[in-house]
């Protein structure tokens, strides 16, 4: 495939177009991803998540700049929310990444989540595959501003960095399930503000209370002032150590297995739905929906009915 070939040769326009293709989805996207798959597996995939305004973009830019100084190349995917009403989006993460402009060792792509919950877009995993195949050493994925349930990034990344800010919530927030449990690294950003030490203490206390299945990795709690570049080196080095830990402990294979399983599930969901839709005429589809609305058919039975139709035709 031409696009795959151009991308693998380092053509940046081809890379950008490939990202558009996988974001749009469909058979062409799958052909491309199949062609690229053999070239993946090299990048360290790092997720960065945290509440809106916690400093995700600034931290991502600072980490990227740090790794550029050590000669590593960086791909960045920055996800922002789509409006549920208009399908439009304003993607503003590049504003905080201006300092990386003009560096050919960095490629930044903004992505709207297009209505998907969980903190990343449907195509974020595929976009990571494309950047990995293009040869970037580190792929940083910045999630949408996350609350407590946007934990999907952990299934898509090797290392997950969760950013907190001083004074965000009391002790009980820290022991709730969810986003803190997915952290491989915890960063208290804006650490020049009041309450930073207390937040660090609370997070450490939470980690020591929690019975986390870490097998030898306790998430470090680090501080940063990302706008001034303070604390970045320690965060970068902890992320690198986490990758070493994953490899040496054999957990890397486990993470890869989780990632692959998640990918397979997502792809299966999508392709199964496409096949069903291809088998069913729009009028039959509408008729089933009308029956559900009229309460003469329940949606589970309707789904079974559709699946039976597809698999009895293609299976036999």
């Amino acid at each position: 495939m031409d696009l795959a070939h151009a991308l693998l040769e380092g053509n940046r326009r081809a890379l950008a177009q490939a990202l558009t293709l996988v974001e749009t989805g469909g058979p062409q996207a799958r052909t491309l991803l199949s062609a690229l798959f053999a070239h993946t597996g090299h990048a360290h995939i790092i997720g960065v998540t945290g509440a809106p305004g916690a400093g995700k973009s600034t931290l991502v830019a600072a980490l990227a700049a740090h790794w550029r100084r050590t000669g590593r190349t960086i791909g960045i995917i920055a996800v922002d929310p789509t409006s549920p009403f208009t399908r439009g989006a304003i993607l503003g993460d590049r504003i905080r990444m201006q300092a990386l402009s003009g560096d050919r060792g960095v490629f930044i792509r903004s992505m709207a989540n297009r209505g998907r919950l969980g903190g990343i877009a449907r195509a974020t995993g595929d976009a990571v595959t494309v950047l990995d195949a293009a040869g970037f050493d580190v792929v940083l994925v910045e999630t949408v501003g996350a609350g407590q349930g946007e934990v999907e990034i952990a299934g898509a990344a090797h290392t997950t960095i969760v950013i907190e800010t001083p004074g965000a919530g009391d002790d009980i927030q820290a022991i709730k399930a969810g986003i803190l449990e997915i952290a491989d690294l915890l960063v208290v950003n804006k650490a020049d503000r009041d309450g930073a030490e207390q937040t660090v203490r609370q997070l450490r206390a939470m980690l020591s209370l929690a019975d986390l299945p870490t097998n030898g990795w306790t998430p470090p709690v680090l501080t940063a002032v990302a706008t001034r570049g303070e604390g970045i080196e320690a965060i970068a080095s902890a992320a690198e150590q986490h990758l070493v830990y994953l490899r040496e402990s054999g957990r890397f294979a486990g993470r890869e297995q989780e990632r692959a399983g998640r990918e397979l599930r997502l792809i299966l969901q999508e392709t199964a739905l496409e096949r069903v839709r291809a088998h069913v005429s729009p009028s039959d589809w509408e008729a089933l929906i009308a029956q559900i609305v009229a309460h003469t058919l329940d949606p589970y039975a309707a789904a079974d009915h559709l699946l039976d139709r597809v698999f009895s035709q293609s299976g036999g």
């Binding site: 940046r12 326009r13 950008a16 177009q17 990202l19 558009t20 974001e23 749009t24 989805g25 469909g26 789509t82 409006s83 208009t86 399908r87 439009g88 989006a89 304003i90 993607l91 503003g92 590049r94 504003i95 201006q98 402009s101 003009g102 490629f107 930044i108 792509r109 903004s110 709207a112």
Partner: protein
């Protein structure tokens, strides 16, 4: 395939007045487009690089500094250098009729909007250009 129109909104040059650019960004979002907002003080190189990475369909340039006759042709030249002929470029700001005519006829800017332009007009122009897109 049905996908949203992607637009890059950028402010070339040194003026820091980004209110107009933000109003346009919002109007385009409300019309269902994905708007990449890059902020103020962008060089033509930064704008074209961002447009390339983001694979946008449209670039909207807001410029109030008076430097439009140097900066906008430079953006168009860099786009051509990168083979990005298919990107629609529109500009807005304080631009005289004569300058607007030259930017359109000689440099390939698709449309130039002055201070009185309505956001509806701009949204409609972009949508009409892309309705015929395959």
């Amino acid at each position: 395939m049905d996908r949203p129109i992607r637009v890059l909104i950028a402010k070339p040059g040194l003026d820091g007045h980004d209110r107009g650019a933000k109003v346009i960004a919002r109007a385009l979002r409300d019309a269902g487009m994905e708007v990449i907002y890059t902020g103020i003080q962008q060089t033509p190189q930064m704008i074209v690089e961002a447009a390339l990475q983001e694979d946008v369909d449209v670039i909207g340039l807001s410029i109030l500094s008076g430097a439009h006759m140097t900066l906008l042709p430079r953006v168009m030249e860099l786009l051509r250098d990168h083979g990005m002929h298919d990107v629609l470029v529109v500009a807005g700001g304080i631009i005289s009729d004569e300058d607007a005519r030259i930017l359109k006829e000689q440099h390939g800017i698709a449309e130039v909007y002055g201070p009185g332009a309505s956001t509806h007009e701009i949204v409609r122009f972009i949508q009409e250009r892309y309705e015929t897109r395959t």
